[in-house]
Amino acid sequence: MLPTKTYIYTRDEIVELVRFKSLEQGHDPDDVFRNYAAGDWRHFSRLLEAYAFCAMLPKDDPIFTS
């Protein structure tokens, strides 16, 4: 087992990671942001990495309402 790496991201890097992880799973990032904000974590297992990054953002981040 290798030593664990720790990553600390800016807000914009987090948003890009949500986009990347959503597209990687074949989902529209805008839908993922919208569903997360609505508390609807659909496709839970496949998209949990994307939702994890969403959870790091403040609930009032403009990405959830734009």
Binding site: L48, A55, M56
Partner: protein
């Protein structure tokens, strides 16, 4: 694998105990202790020597963390196992301000799969704290990819893999035991060493789930 002496495992077990206590103590250091705990738990048990995990958070906040398999943020979140297969692992952790900044799982998934980047999965556990305790499917549940021998049991066109078998708290220790004892995934430490460590810490890990 490089054979390790009993002394080395004693040291690992002691470090595991310290990390376990730290993750349960809460506060800003708890996520780092949790990361250390998971690393040591897998090191003792089913992790390949090149297996890896990573911890991520937003710079402006240290309230929510993600612990995922692998080192590469652009890669698949999977931990390489000693049997050549993978455990896909994503955990969302939160310092619960309503509970003295105790560390809690907000969500968790772990999935045993044949390859790193396809859908060849065997079983999976999911947990979502935000789901109502009375919700269906339940907060914690297990999926198994397979077929039933008895026909007509499931609803038409419903595969077994979509059935939610309730499991209240799908701990990482449960994943390790399932892999090692039921699926024969080789462990790094001898059985009596890793099994005692898991037994010592699994009940404590329940505190990381719904309070």
């Amino acid at each position: 694998m490089t054979p390790s002496s009993p002394h080395n495992w004693s040291s690992t077990v002691a470090s595991l105990r310290k990390a376990s206590d730290g993750r349960l103590a809460g506060g800003r250091e708890a996520p780092a202790h949790f990361e250390r705990y998971v690393n040591l738990l897998f090191r003792l048990t089913v992790a390949h020597r090149e297996a890896a995990i990573r911890l991520s958070r937003l710079a402006a906040s240290s309230k929510v963390w993600a612990l995922t398999g692998g080192h590469d943020p652009g890669g698949r979140p999977a931990v390489r196992l000693t049997d050549g297969r993978y455990l896909r692992l994503v955990a969302v952790l939160e310092l619960d301000v309503s509970a003295s900044r105790q560390l809690r799982f907000q969500a968790l998934t772990w999935q045993y799969q044949n390859a790193i980047d396809d859908d060849s999965w065997v079983f999976r556990a999911d947990y979502s704290r935000s789901r109502s305790p009375a919700a269906s499917p339940p907060r914690g549940h297990l999926h198994i990819d397979g077929t039933l021998r008895q026909p007509g049991v499931l609803r038409p066109k419903q595969p077994l893999g979509r059935v939610h078998f309730p499991c209240r708290r799908p701990t990482l220790e449960a994943a390790v035991v399932l892999l090692a004892d039921e699926f024969g995934v080789p462990t790094n430490a001898p059985h009596e060493v890793w099994r005692a460590a898991v037994a010592e810490h699994e009940a404590k890990s329940a505190r990381l789930f719904d309070s």
